[in-house]
Amino acid sequence: MKFFQHNWTKVLIAYHRFAGSWAWILHRITGIALTGYIMLHIIALSSLQKHKIDNGKAFNEEMALFSSPFFLFLEWLLFAFVIFHSLNGIRIVLIDFANGARYQKKLHYAVLTIGIIAFLVMGYVIFSHQLNESTAFLFSPTNK
């Protein structure tokens, strides 16, 4: 196949066709996103530095905002990035140290399967507390 490097669309179409190449590009995208997130995370937690003045009020207000359904949804999406990067990271370690190049395609589909299941389970874990709180009045007659 002829390969013109100045034609970037052609390069992109030609390259990302195999399981391994998708894993590779997704690992990079999620990695860059997670690096951006850890920086945001550190900035967000700097509200803890005021705790000697306001006894944690700023932190609690911030966490109340982060516990709203919109932010819980964002955290769920974040978990998709985390779980893919973690599982594909295990795949990379197996490729490098455990002869995984021989079964990397199987590993890729295992990563996707386990990842999707873990994503759904984490959706339940994240939202169950909210659901329990918002539907608690149905089960406790004292609130009526």
């Binding site: 550190i42 705790h51 978990f79």
Partner: protein
């Protein structure tokens, strides 16, 4: 044909190995982090429990390590991506400088968040 004198003097092997080691450490730490923050949300999202946890020096050491390892893994990963592209030397040196400065400043901010307790 010997490629010994054609490439970079830095093979990148230590960075490659540290990336694997820190990655495995981060997976283990991340499981605990998710249990703490999402399985039992009150242990991570209320100041009182955070304050109590931070009285224990072992938790402080854990978070300091977490910040350093997380930032190192992320920024070293970005540096690995940058090294995949051919670019002028001054551009790659500038990017490396930006990454190192970002790492040091965010690690300092993270250390301040932990050591304020």
């Amino acid at each position: 044909m010997s490629y010994k004198h054609l490439g970079s003097r830095n093979s990148g092997a230590p960075g490659w190995l540290f990336q694997r080691i820190t990655g495995i450490v981060l997976i283990v730490a991340m499981v605990g982090h998710y249990i703490l923050m999402h399985y039992t949300p009150s242990s991570g999202h209320e100041f009182a429990s955070t304050f109590e946890r931070m009285q224990n020096p072992l938790w402080k050491i854990f978070y300091l390590t977490f910040v350093v390892i997380g930032l190192y893994h992320g920024l070293n990963g970005i540096w690995g991506i940058v090294r995949d592209f051919k670019m002028k030397r001054w551009i790659s040196v500038t990017i490396l400088g930006v990454l190192i400065i970002a790492g040091i400043s965010f690690a300092t901010l993270g250390f301040m968040n932990v050591l304020v307790f």
